[in-house]
């Protein structure tokens, strides 16, 4: 006992050791590694779950946005010819022979539609050229150039060959270019998309603008409510909290539909305004099927995401802070601005970030109540996922959106600090 005390007390130059002489660090590491292994095993299921359901799909999505082998995989010989020749090379007999062989092969393998679809993304109106020529490809005989051109003279179009050269590589930036209203011309130069097809940049701007507006509205509406909830006795505030959470328990469609009932031209709000004589029957206010509808409905739907983090930050702030400020000579406004508000910042940050990110991604609500002017970028992502089935473009648009949100997150971290975020 006495010896041990002396050992510990003595200043040991170099490393500390345990009683049996092993280095203390190694012994500690060994003692802790078992605990660490067990902890890791406990979180392993969640880790796997996240990797399988979240990281892998997002990775696939991102990959799809730059990778589309619809042409290169199904037209191997022609793709090889493009790889072997310089851009701008006139298609020769070898090229046409490769084309004829590939068309024949793709038609037999029933993949000609995939090829046509891929080329059609870049050059509209060419899909049927592939499918119809594919059906005739079985009968092609040399010289192939004549045979193909005879089947359809459109094959002689140099733009078509320029486009095929572009899509002959599985990896292509074209979908990302398209997602910001750019395109590549036959020479491969990046140019702006034709005026009447530019839509995405404008929609990205509108999406961020509307999401920002909704965030501000949610904050203005949610802050007093959260404050009320946080200061009322727990029993009353729990009851009111149920009212706040009620929208969570009704389906999104029910909520959206009820907004339609309320806001439409013949809806409750307009009818009341007409009945009270505030507006004439002929001048009913258009509050739905436009941006106003999107903003109103989304503010309602996202409000709980603002209130909850605010509430959870406000609840533990004792009233004595504001009282202290008042006793120190601050008016109620000064006490709010300098003492209360700064302490709710983590909640404001969390709520605003949540509402904004969710707002940027919403598409059902804008689709139902947004009309034409209330459509957001997510509606077009959904359109390309579900209707046009151009998943690569949908992935590129989603990737741009993801990047924008990540940048925002990074900015928030730089400006406010992410550790200053309290989600509840």
């Amino acid at each position: 006992m006495a010896d041990a005390t002396t050992d510990l007390a003595a200043p040991t130059p170099g490393r500390l050791t345990t009683a049996d002489g092993r280095p203390l660090k190694a012994a500690l590491g060994r003692a802790q590694s078992r605990a660490r292994r067990r902890a890791f095993l406990l979180v392993l299921p969640l880790l796997l779950f996240i990797v399988i359901t979240f990281i892998v799909p997002i990775g696939q999505m991102l990959h799809r946005s730059i990778h589309n082998d619809g042409f290169s995989r199904n037209m191997p010989q022609l793709s090889q010819w493009f790889a072997d020749t310089e851009p701008g090379t006139e298609p020769d007999e070898v090229a046409y022979a490769a084309l004829a062989a590939d068309l024949k092969g793709a038609a037999e393998a029933k993949t000609i539609g995939i090829v046509g679809t891929r080329v059609n993304y870049e050059m509209p109106g060419t899909r049927s050229l592939f499918t119809s020529t594919g059906r005739k490809a079985r009968g092609f005989e040399p010289p192939y150039r004549e045979a193909v051109l005879e089947a359809d003279p459109k094959w002689g179009n140099p733009s078509l060959w320029g486009t095929m050269r572009q899509v002959s590589r599985a990896y292509s930036p074209n979908f990302f270019l398209a997602s910001v209203d750019l395109a590549r011309d036959n020479e491969g130069n990046i140019v702006r998309a034709p005026q009447e097809r530019r839509v995405y940049v404008m929609l990205f701007q509108r999406t961020f603008l509307i999401a920002g507006l909704i965030t501000v509205l949610c904050l203005l509406l949610g802050f007093p409510i959260a404050h009320l909830l946080a200061t009322l006795p727990l029993r009353t505030s729990n009851l009111l909290m149920i009212l706040v959470l009620l929208p969570f328990w009704t389906s999104l469609l029910v909520r959206t539909t009820s907004w339609i009932v309320l806001l439409q031209g013949q809806g409750v709000v307009n009818n009341s305004l007409v009945a009270t004589g505030l507006i004439s029957d002929a001048n009913r206010i258009q509050m739905i099927y436009n941006q106003t509808g999107t903003i109103i409905a989304m503010t309602h739907i996202l409000l709980p995401f603002m209130i909850l983090p605010l509430y959870s930050v406000m609840r533990p702030i004792p009233p004595s802070y504001v009282r202290a400020a008042r006793s120190l000579g601050a008016s109620s406004w000064t006490a709010f601005r300098r003492i209360y508000l700064p302490q709710t910042l983590p909640g404001i940050g969390a709520g605003a970030l949540l509402v904004f990110i969710l707002g940027v991604g919403y598409y059902i609500t804008p689709a139902l109540v947004g009309g034409a002017s209330g459509q957001l970028i997510s509606n077009l992502i959904a359109f390309h996922m579900q209707d046009s089935l151009n998943w690569s473009l949908a992935a590129a648009l989603a990737a741009v959106l993801l990047a924008a949100v990540l940048i925002l997150y990074w900015l928030y971290d730089r400006l406010v600090g992410i550790d200053n975020l309290k989600l509840g």
């Binding site: 009282r323 601050a330 700064p342």
Partner: protein
């Protein structure tokens, strides 16, 4: 610095009533005058109305009825930030997002004070509580005692005439608490400010106050300096709330000239001073402090009544001995004797006779 100025009425409560729900009164007809420079403590169990009184004075609660005046000016309608009252809160209420310096700067900023004036005053206030080196710390980096000092400095930095303290030492451990009691008392004396102090700790109240207002059930039960409160409690509540005390129930047998003879429920007769009893046959509760009970006959007045007691337990506490006795059927009768040279240690089972000077036993209202 004893409350010689209490009559000038620096703070006056006049027939103040307070109800939260419109059905019951939390404060029932409060009348209280506090003098300039006085240290007044509001003492009482929780729910007795003392904190409500403090909050009404600070302006966070409004009186349902009655007037509160500060320095001659009615303040019922004055908002809290215009009252110029410093306040120390139970959990200090230091603003967590500000440094110590910023916390102290806040009351000066809202008063529009110039930067140099602010810095001077902050330094002076911090030095006053020996925290001069901590201006750039955040409250969360300070210990409880340090936070307490900062809260004190913040309440004093803008030179208020009146400082309210709402159980300011409640969160500290015993040793630190006692130390801080002296520091607060010292600051009060050196600055000459008026302090209204709320606590439920009678030791704290006795140590610090010029006068103590004992609250119970929405009323002031007794308002007196500490010695008077201890020596001469006016009713059973005060007697039992302040200090340790033995209680013997009985009936007045004789009463005359400031002396009474009480027949205990078990038949013995004892001496007492009548306080709020007046006639023969009245029920009473006789209260005797443990240190005033004597068992050595030579120490008692010659005509004192003595009663039988049996020693149940003897506890050696160093400076004093504490002995539990069975007296008049109760086993909770305690006596304390100083550990003086030759003092005898009583043995459990020993039978003795005890007595007291009549002025030390007070015949009070039965609880």
């Amino acid at each position: 610095m004893v409350a010689s100025t209490q009559d000038d009425g620096f703070v006056v409560f006049e027939h103040v009533q307070k109800s939260y729900d419109g059905e019951t009164l939390v404060v029932k007809d409060l009348n209280l005058t506090i003098g300039q420079g006085e240290f007044l403590t509001m003492l009482g169990p929780s729910g007795s109305g003392k904190t409500t009184c403090l909050m009404m004075l600070a302006g966070f609660e409004t009186a349902t009825h009655g007037d509160i005046r500060l320095d001659g000016r009615p303040i019922n309608t004055v908002p809290p930030h215009k009252r110029g009252i410093g306040m120390v809160f139970q959990n200090y209420a230091l603003f967590p997002h500000m440094t110590v310096g910023e916390n102290l700067s806040f009351p000066l900023e809202v008063r529009g004070m110039s930067r140099s004036d602010r810095e001077r005053k902050i330094k002076r206030a911090l030095d006053m509580v020996q925290m001069g080196a901590f201006a750039n710390r955040r409250p969360a980096q300070l210990s409880g005692g340090q936070q307490q000092r900062i809260a004190l400095a913040r309440a004093l930095v803008f030179d208020p005439q009146l400082v309210l303290m709402d159980e300011p030492l409640g969160a500290l451990d015993k040793q630190l608490r006692e130390h801080m009691q002296f520091e607060i008392k010292h600051l009060h004396e050196s600055l000459g400010i008026t302090v209204v102090y709320v606590t439920h700790d009678q030791g704290e109240a006795l140590t610090m106050s010029d006068r103590i207002a004992v609250f119970n059930d929405g009323r002031i039960q007794q308002l007196a300096p500490p010695d008077e409160l201890y020596e001469r409690p006016r009713n059973s509540f005060v007697a039992s709330f302040i200090g340790e005390n033995n209680r013997l129930p009985g009936v007045i047998e004789e009463i005359a000239e400031g002396r009474a003879l009480v027949r205990l429920d078990t038949g013995e007769l004892i001496d007492a001073t009548p306080v709020n009893v007046s006639h023969k046959g009245q029920k009473t509760l006789v209260s005797i402090r443990p240190e005033r009970v004597e068992y050595k006959p030579e120490m008692l007045p010659p005509n004192a009544h003595l009663i039988e007691a049996e020693v149940m337990e003897f506890i050696y506490m160093g400076d004093i001995f504490r002995t539990r006795l069975r007296v008049a059927g109760s086993e909770e009768f305690v006596i304390k004797s100083r550990n003086t040279l030759g003092q005898r240690m009583l043995q459990p089972g020993e039978r003795i006779r005890i007595g007291w000077a009549p002025q030390d036993a007070r015949a009070l209202d039965p609880l």
